[in-house]
Amino acid sequence: MENPEAKKLVSIKNLTLTFNAGKKNEKTALEDVSFDIYEGETFGLVGESGSGKTTLGRTVLKLYSPAGGSIEFDGSDINKMKKKELADFRSKAQMIFQDPQASLNGRLTVSNILGEGLDEAGFTKNKEERRKKVLELLHMVGLNEDHASRYPHEFSGGQKQRIGIARALAVQPKFVIADEPISALDVSVQAQVVNLLAKLQKEQKLTYLFIAHDLAMVKYLSDRIGVLHWGKLVELGTADQVYNHPLHPYTKSLLSAVPVPDPVKEKAHHVKSYDPSFEKDGQERHMVEMEAGHFVLATQEEAAKYKADQN
């Protein structure tokens, strides 16, 4: 997505988020995070638990209010939106959750789970149209008419996640945040759901923010990737730049820890350790562009060192 003509759909600038601000247990979950998501791309976000990746996803959907910085969606600041604009944003930006069991209402039939969103967005003029739209959604995610009258508990994990996807897409969003959408699924079903996500993106020109801890899956799906550590974006680049030419020592350590399904390679390989203490030395660090589109959080000296390490 280095195409300069690509349109920015989401633009995050200097985003800072603090939990329990002003209290003893104040915690800065995100600090000065900036990046853009272009229309039609998949932006992957990786990081360990506690890095702030889920918080970031939720903030972009206006589920948390940031302490500083701005988030623009389609050119307007989501935290300054008025009622009507906000309702429009809510249907344009949707979320697929990790646990399809917990995120589907167990007392509603699939047809009502999907219909709710359709009604809210005003897509249904009458019962017949609602039924038709629900069926379209089911077909789109590889389910069929028989499934419409059933309840969530009657489905397998993979099928439930298909329903979760159909629900997110019911209101015809442009932007979908998928927060660990496959980590609760069986290995053999994960690939089905990932392929479905890729297919839907192509068909409906969706833009994804894909959050996951499975680094191989993120690499597989994403055009560009951001690496979060302790609430800061430490590296940003195309999937190839970040995975094959990582700059930041944290990214290097994280990638080296991913076990590969290749015994000869895996048994010979060592994990690079990472000492994060230098991050707290008080020096100011900025995102430095090392090559077109490839940024690393560093001081000028560090940037020079990272560059030298790479050659």
């Binding site: 290995v187 990932v194 801890h213 191989a216 994280l254 590969v260 015994p263 048994k267």
Partner: protein
């Protein structure tokens, strides 16, 4: 050939539920040798956890181990054990590390005490002696400043540190066999790498045999000497780790290996196994994988395949290995792996 320290023969386990009898384990055979790591791979419901729980007599009350099942530890058949007999086995001969370190630790007891307890119980150590040994063990599994933290409670620790404590408890009574059931699934990759290294180092030091249960093939490649692939309550393929990863024969193993992207898989080329596993309330007549198997033959739907020997250490239960079966071309990912096999493991001539 070595004699195995544990041998499981024709294990069948079923669960009585309100909906009927679930045949969770449908005839499992394997051997475990001293000092080795056997990985059992499979998805949820394949029976990998039930298999290992059966080895420790930990199944729920509605479980039945079928008569004729054998779990031979030396000369004793654990399949015949009553609840009172298990004390001699659990923790002492066979110990277990569970997936979730939070729920497998006692929140009301200090960590030092939890590690010392099996030593007092199984090794006859006095309290003071056991505390000393617990401290040494905490250092062994890489818990920093162990002296300061021996009287901490589990909630004061992070997930990775807790899992180290769980490992220390499992090692406390010096078992011959350690079962690790998804021990790193709840952890971040960097912590996972540390825990795997600790397990490997302790195994080497103590010459323990390890049964490692996981669905992560990357982890299997890292830790395993031999691999058993389970599907729908049966082992469908077993072999050395190199045989399974570079020369797999069962279409389910093919599917698993091709449905995991590596960091070089191009978008659009990820293979997905269609459908979902069968319901073991009504186990299928033929090969349980047949309905999801693009390579299924007619006989797969009718008759369960026997094991076909591929090498002295490698066997797979698929009709594709029968002499009469048509030759098939495996998925691209598998062809690449087989090419590697030909080049590196098959001697010329």
């Amino acid at each position: 050939m070595q004699t195995p320290i544990l041998e499981v023969k024709n294990l069948e386990v079923s669960f009585a539920t309100y909906a009927g009898t679930i045949q969770a384990i449908r005839g499992v055979d394997f051997q475990l040798f001293e000092g080795e790591t056997l990985a059992i791979v499979g998805e949820s419901g394949s029976g990998k956890s039930v298999t290992t729980k059966t080895l420790l007599g930990l199944n729920a009350a509605n479980a039945t181990v079928k008569k004729g099942s054998q779990i031979l530890l030396g000369n004793t058949n654990l399949a015949d054990y009553k609840e009172k007999d298990w004390d001699q086995i659990r923790g002492k001969k066979i110990a277990m590390v569970f997936q979730d370190p939070m729920t497998s630790l006692d929140p009301t007891m200090t960590i030092g005490k939890q590690i010392a307890e099996p030593m007092e119980k199984h090794l006859g150590k006095k309290a003071k002696e056991a505390r000393e040994a617990a401290l040494a063990l905490m250092k062994d599994v890489g818990i920093p400043d162990a002296e300061e933290h021996i009287d901490d409670y589990p909630h004061q620790w992070s997930g990775g540190m807790r899992q180290r404590a769980v490992i220390a408890i499992a090692l406390a009574a010096e078992p011959d066999i350690l079962i690790a059931d998804e021990p790193t699934t709840a952890l971040d990759v960097t912590i996972q790498a540390q825990i795997l290294n600790i397990l490997k180092a302790q195994q080497k030091k103590r010459k323990m045999a390890v049964i490692f249960i996981t669905h992560d093939l990357g982890v299997v490649a890292d830790v395993a000497d031999r691999v058993a692939v389970m599907y729908a309550g049966k082992i469908v393929e077993k072999g050395t780790v190199n045989e399974i990863f570079y020369n797999p024969k069962h279409p389910y193993t093919w599917g698993l290996l091709s449905s995991m992207p590596t960091t070089s898989t191009a978008l659009g080329s990820l293979h997905a196994i269609p459908g979902t596993p069968p319901d073991l309330l009504y186990p299928p007549k033929g090969d349980a994988f047949a309905n999801r198997n693009a390579y299924a033959l007619k006989i797969d739907h009718e008759k369960q395949p026997p094991f076909f020997q591929v090498s002295p250490t490698h066997e797979a239960a698929t009709w594709l290995l029968d002499k009469r079966a048509p030759k098939v071309v495996p998925p691209e990912e598998i062809q690449k792996r087989q090419a590697y096999w030909q080049e590196h493991f098959v001697k010329e001539g």
